[in-house]
């Protein structure tokens, strides 16, 4: 393109920049060395913070158990005191062993084999958690694709964005989980065309999808619009096509926003799966287990507590999984995460 045979400018180059002849003297490069030191220190801080958070979580769980036991000790007197409150009635929960089974009972409930089974209860709950995780993961994956597609479509036109974003927000006020049974019936009827047989858990995944797409759309929209004007101008100046700008600028720029959404969405997908199972009566998952243990609560209250703990563990697990992927993909390389 450009002729490489330059004019006699050697003299000029040498005189212009004596400093740049030796790299060490370059003040800009020197400043660089200081910066690298700082960023290495930051990374070390981050590792230490993560380690501390794990410890804090463990301590918190222990304290929670302690508080629970302490409350049971003083609970009877609270119950007595509250019973004489004239108007408000009881605000704090009652604490007898049926309503709040003792902590040792709950712990042994994790390992006991429930009647009629020859597996420890934690293994049963774990298998059911895996079933629920599959529902949630399928719902999450579809929700991410749908949510991101909507966000990309909305980015193409300001008018479209103004027209549809209020409806996306309003869509979340529709408690779709409440009509899970309808979704299950609809699912059985409507997906004959698929190459595989439709199963009820897939309908639960649809409910999870409904809760998942929303944060992805909202944050995706923010992320896709996050490139600075000069970066968009840069792509224009290179005569980049729309799809090139999307793939090389808008999508990578939206990754921190998307991961913030993925963390919310992953949690939401677990909620959707659990509640969807309960409401739709789908068997085999954690939601069903919670419902079952709630129904036969009086024969084994500790099992309900264990099932709920299993649900809590599943929620924290998916959150931690997404956070780890986020750290691997965007957390290093000095990029900021969006919260």
């Amino acid at each position: 393109m450009k002729s490489e045979s330059g004019p006699p400018v050697e003299a000029m180059i040498d005189s212009v920049s004596p400093a740049s002849n030796a790299e060490v003297d370059d003040p800009i490069v020197f400043e660089q060395i200081l910066r690298q030191q700082a960023s290495r220190e930051q990374r070390r801080d981050r590792m230490r913070r993560t380690a501390r958070q794990v410890v804090v979580l463990a301590v918190f769980v222990c304290l929670l158990g302690l508080a629970y036991s302490l409350y049971k000790v003083v609970g009877t007197s609270i119950d007595d005191a509250q019973s004489s409150w004239p108007v408000i009635g009881s605000i704090l929960p009652e604490s007898d062993d049926l309503k709040m089974p003792p902590l040792p009972d709950i712990i042994s409930g994790i390992f006991d084999e429930p009647r009629g089974t020859n597996e420890p209860f934690w293994l049963i709950v774990g298998k059911e958690a895996a079933f629920t995780l599959r529902e949630a993961a399928v719902g999450f994956a579809i929700g991410v694709v749908v949510g991101l597609s909507i966000a990309i479509v909305l980015t193409t036109s300001g008018r479209l964005e103004r027209a549809l974003v209020p409806h996306v927000i309003a869509s979340q006020t529709i408690p779709l989980i409440a009509i899970a049974p309808i979704i299950v019936i609809w699912g059985r009827k409507s997906f004959d065309f698929l190459p595989f047989e439709w199963q009820d858990w897939m309908s639960v995944s649809i409910i999870a999808t409904y809760l998942t797409f929303f944060p992805v759309t909202i944050n995706g929209l923010r992320g896709l619009q996050s490139p600075r004007p000069e970066n968009l101008e840069l792509m224009d100046s290179y005569a980049a096509r729309w799809i090139q700008t999307l793939w090389r600028l808008r999508l990578p720029a939206s990754l921190p926003y998307l991961f913030a959404a993925f963390k919310i969405a992953a949690t939401a997908s677990v909620v959707g799966a659990i509640v969807g199972e309960i409401s739709a009566g789908v068997k085999g998952g954690l939601g069903r287990r919670v419902l079952l243990e709630a129904q036969r609560y009086t024969t084994g209250p500790e099992r309900l507590y264990v099932a709920v703990l299993g649900a809590a563990a599943l929620g924290i697990f998916v959150f931690a999984a997404i956070s780890s992927i986020e750290y691997a993909l965007v957390g290093r390389k000095g990029r900021q995460t969006v919260t």
Binding site: Q53, R162, A163, A170, T173, P175, I274
Partner: protein
Amino acid sequence: MTAARALLHSWLPPVVAAVVILGGWEVLLAVIRPDGFVLPPPSDIGGAAIENFDAIVGATGVTGFIIVTGLIAGVVVGAAFAVLVTAFRAANETLTPLAVAVNAVPIIALAPIFNAWFGLLSPRSNQAVVVVLVFFPIFINTARGLTQVEPSQVELMESYGAGRWRIMREVRIPNAMPFFFTALKLATSLAVIAAIVAEYFGGRQDALGNLITNSAGLTRYNDAWAAVLAGSLVGIGLYALAVLIERLVMPWYFVARRSA
């Protein structure tokens, strides 16, 4: 003139979209007439809403009370806790990441335990679910806003000899307002979902959640959707209220954004 145009600019597209979506839905169902009426046309839902008006309004009142009281309690406790925790650096650095992790717990699964604690038919357990569910996003977002302040603003206040609570009031709380309202808007729809789903496990029998599940169980889908619609309207109303309060409390924020 320009105000009217600005109103048109922001309101016309969503209204047009709503008409298109609802009209398209109605027409599509009229044309293909799927069996089962799982997703009835808007006109049928509207008809069911009128038919069951009294029952729906009554149930919405019961559930609405739970939603509003739970929402207020969760927001107040969450925001107060955030102010308290962020005033102390050590407390903030341990408790806030903890809250982020605990927030990943599917709180709604706690509903049967709350039922055991507060009584199966008491609305108290449903309120408890709403409170806990609202608490975490409010606490996390507000704490984030209270800590993500411009360091120079804090230094400026310190140079004036301002103490911890003075800095909280003058710098941190104003800075946290946008974060708080983002969480509040999110919390409104969470509260509706939480209350309706919690009713599936227990609480008063004349509430919206039961109306939805009973209607669906009797394959009266129009009625179920009409009750769902009532829940949505509560959610949209609370969301709009949150937006209104946001505008009234921080007019400066919207002025700054418009001129930017």
